[in-house]
Amino acid sequence: MASALRADNIVKRFGSVTALDGVSMHVEPGEILGILGDNGAGKSTLMKILTGYQSPTSGTLQVHGQDVVLRSVDHARSLGIECVYQDLALVGGLSVAHNMFLNREKLRRFPPGMLDNGEMRRRARQVLEDIGVNIPSVDLEVERLSGGQRQAIAVARAVSSDARILLLDEPLAAMGAREAALIIDLVLRLKARGNLSIIMIMHNYGQTLDIADRIMLMQRGTVTYEKAAAETSVPELMDIVRREYRAVRSA
């Protein structure tokens, strides 16, 4: 069976900065891939290329075995790729419901072009209930929610459509232990629904090994290590990072 998503030899340059220097990766249907790596390793950049937000300088992408050139976020979305950005991409002054349907608002048939706020509220409530997120009201402005609730809204938004590939950029960043546990639980429940591939960019090795099926380590724009989570351990990962660090320092 074809990989859900596959990238080959992706290069991304910003002027003189090479953020990605020939990255190849893939994620299988129903698999959780954990991406680890230093700050500035190029993880978010890779993610933005996979969502069509930025285009690569060179390299190719395949979605479910088909070659694609992602033209825009909407294009990627139409192929079932959804993501939660590191900055969450929520608008503080808008309600939970409006945020969940941002840029794919439900419209009434009449008058044409009028927002169907009732329908968006109903569906938002439904999605939050389905995935077990408890928010007091979908009419609340997002800026009034806690960090964990916002994270949950961003995840709920991403899975509310028929996403088949879900990308999460540091979903546990700035999150307390309890809230992190809730998000991990949510991700595992999404996985249990089957057929959803998840790519998670993470910083905590232990958490990543707990949740991911496979681990990929990125350093300075390249993939330096890749293994099934069951076959590696926190000390082994630490060791690789330390070795790399020493190599860079002595160079």
């Binding site: 976020v73 900055d87 072009g113 927002l115 928010i135 806690s146």
Partner: protein, 333 residues
């Protein structure tokens, strides 16, 4: 999974307290109270205030800034401003005049003039969004350019509006024509802001530019579109004013009408920071400014004093917006 809500605690001791509380939470509340108090005050000190002759005068003070404010509010919400709209106001009726002189029916001449205004807005937007010049600077530049263009084209002297009487009445000459245009513009733009994707995306663009782009919103299109809208509204207002007065003046509008429109928006509760705003508030803001100006004129206060009062009104409105806004958001400091 249950994520508890952040406590939004607020004690409402009784019914009256709850009503007051709900009222304070209503965005346009403070400015509506101000408008009503001012009207009561001016009627008390001068019984001619609420006569139909005077209301007509007040409505004329209000209309122009209210229509232009509809555009400026949309721009402020998406994080931009247009300083040049007063010069578009002056240019548009001349463009219409050249059109009718060339033998075009007045409706066609007006539509072409408005298309030209839209192009000016598109240029403002393009320079701001694509060439990344802050809109404050972009439109300061086009303000001067347009002023020079209008003065050159008109040789600095006014001309008659011309056209049929019925057309003139429709376009602003009949007593309440212009304020009816203003109400129509406010109704349409309030609907656009609150009930359409365009309005929602304008708020999202100003509230979180990167987030909106990551959600796939074409933020450049939103911003440029609102520049076009503001210019077209500015041009339309210039044409209406010309018909009301019966002549086209190259020095009409200008920064005065632009600042009144921005002030109406700000007094009405639209912060300069972007991400939120209200069209209804801008209308009420324009009413407050119109009532102040007319009321003090009736009292015999001169234009110099009026400027002092306007300045104080802007500051007071801003201070109360910020502090009542805080109350609205849940009593936190």
């Amino acid at each position: 999974m249950s994520l508890k809500p952040t406590p939004v605690s607020r004690a409402s001791p009784n019914r009256a307290g709850a009503t007051l509380d709900a009222f304070l939470r209503w965005r346009e509340a403070s400015i509506i109270v101000v408008a009503i108090l001012l009207t009561i005050y001016f009627q008390a000190v001068n019984e001619n205030f609420l006569t139909s002759a005077n209301l007509e005068t007040v409505s004329q003070f209000i209309a122009a800034s209210a229509i232009i404010a509809c555009g400026e509010v949309m721009l402020l919400i998406c994080g931009e401003i247009d300083l040049s709209v007063g010069q578009v106001f002056a240019l548009a009726p001349f463009l219409m005049h050249f059109g009718t002189n060339a033998g075009l029916p007045i409706i066609v001449a007006i539509l072409l003039a408005l298309v030209a205004c839209g192009l000016i807005g598109a240029i403002n937007g393009f320079i701001t969004v694509k060439l990344r010049v802050p809109s404050f600077v972009t439109t300061l530049g086009t303000l001067y350019i347009l002023n020079g263009v209008t003065l050159t084209l008109s040789h600095g002297s006014p001309v008659e509006t011309g056209g049929s009487e019925a057309m003139g009445n429709f376009l602003g000459a009949s007593p309440y024509a212009e304020i009816l245009w203003a109400f129509a513009a406010v109704a349409v733009m309030h609907y656009v802001l609150r009930q359409t994707r365009w309005g929602l995306h304008t708020i999202a663009t100003g509230g979180n530019l990167i987030g909106a782009a990551e959600a796939g919103i074409n933020v450049a299109r939103i911003k440029i579109g609102n520049f076009v809208l503001t210019s077209v509204l500015g041009g339309l207002t210039g044409i209406l004013e010309a018909h009301r007065i019966g002549s086209i003046d190259p020095l009409a509008g200008g920064t005065t009408v632009m600042f009144l429109a921005v002030a109406a928006g700000v007094i009405g509760g639209t912060p300069l920071a972007g991400g939120s705003g209200t069209i209804i508030g801008a209308l009420v803001g324009a009413i407050v400014l119109g009532v102040l100006r007319d009321g003090f004129t009736l009292q015999g206060i001169n234009a110099y004093t009026f400027d002092i009062i306007i300045g104080a009104a802007i500051l007071l409105a801003m201070i109360s917006n910020i502090h009542l806004g805080r109350l609205r958001r849940g009593g936190g400091r």
